[in-house]
């Protein structure tokens, strides 16, 4: 049985993070001087004048990177419960995980060979 009280530390951390974040925003709002000029409120672009609209279409490579990230993320999700009980399971589980990883390595090497991991 998973008791709800086991999650109290996570809840406390969440609350603390929210409170600290809001508090910092609030403090800087009241204490900080606020004198905006046109130059100051312009978007910062390495000290240069920004050119063109900020919301340009991104190249499709970003999509590829995001999908690859999701796939490897899901791999990690499979590792997690396995790693929790790994010591109890013995050799069979280790072999199972090796097969799992080898099949995934096929995809990984395909991505590598096709240059999907490179950024030019």
């Amino acid at each position: 049985m998973v008791a709800l009280s086991e999650f109290a530390p996570i809840g406390a951390m969440l609350l603390l993070a929210i409170v600290v974040g809001l508090l910092l925003l609030f403090i800087s709002r009241i204490l900080g001087p606020n004198k905006p000029t046109e130059r100051k409120s312009a978007p910062y672009e390495s000290g240069m004048k920004p050119i063109g609209p900020g919301t340009r279409r991104l190249p499709v490579r970003f999509y590829l990177i995001a999908v690859l990230f999701i796939l490897f993320d899901i791999e990690v999700i499979f590792f997690l419960p396995w790693a929790v009980v790994f010591r109890k399971l013995g050799l069979f589980a280790l072999v199972e995980m090796f097969i799992f990883i080898i099949i995934l390595l096929v995809g990984y090497f395909y991505a590598w060979r096709k240059g999907a991991l490179e950024w030019e």
């Binding site: 609209p53 999701i70 499979f78 990883i101 099949i103 999907a116």
Partner: protein, 177 residues
């Protein structure tokens, strides 16, 4: 019906409100990036409800995969489309009608599930099982010969197929440049 006010009901209320408010934000905002951010709030509320349902592993997946990865994919998806956030004329004016139709359809379904209006249904609250799957049990089940070891290995094939498919779709064509 008496609802006892306990710590659990309060947390459930907080996460329920987060989920619903995030959902309402998604469908009402006109800025797609803001909609994606509201979606993250909603998904976070669902993660909290998973914890209340004694499914901490699902909650971890919810945070890692849905908030961590799917939300990024959605935001990239928005940024790949042609400046959707700056074209108000693209939005049609049938939002109100669409909302009425969708809510109506959902209410019909909901009533059908709760009350036996259209014949008997199986929507009887199941007795709470005294078995709680922990992450430990899940790990054992994943590599047990008699349980889910085959689906576990097939999942890796599926992931590989998805990887190859994503590369085939999104890769720059070398012959073009």
């Amino acid at each position: 019906m008496n609802i006892e006010i306990t710590f659990e009901t309060i947390t459930f209320a907080i996460f329920g409100v987060l989920t619903l408010a995030g959902g309402i934000g998604v469908v009402t905002t006109r800025n797609l990036i803001h909609a994606a951010l509201y979606l993250i709030v909603s998904l976070f509320g669902v993660a909290g409800i998973f914890i209340l349902l004694a499914a901490p592993f699902l909650a971890a997946i919810q945070v890692l995969v849905y908030i961590g990865a799917i939300a990024i994919l959605i935001i990239f998806g928005v940024m790949l489309t042609r400046g959707m956030t700056h074209l108000p004329e693209r939005f049609n004016r049938q939002g109100g009608l669409a909302a009425v139709v969708v809510i109506g359809g959902f209410v019909v379904l909901l009533v059908g599930v709760i009350l036996p209006v259209w014949g008997p249904n199986g929507a009887v609250a199941a007795e709470a099982q005294p078995i709680f799957m922990t992450t430990r049990d899940l790990g054992i089940a994943l590599v047990d010969k008699e349980q889910f070891v085959l689906p576990f290995e097939v999942a890796s094939v599926l992931l590989t197929a998805a990887m190859v498919g994503a590369i085939a779709i999104a890769r720059d064509d070398e012959s073009r440049d």
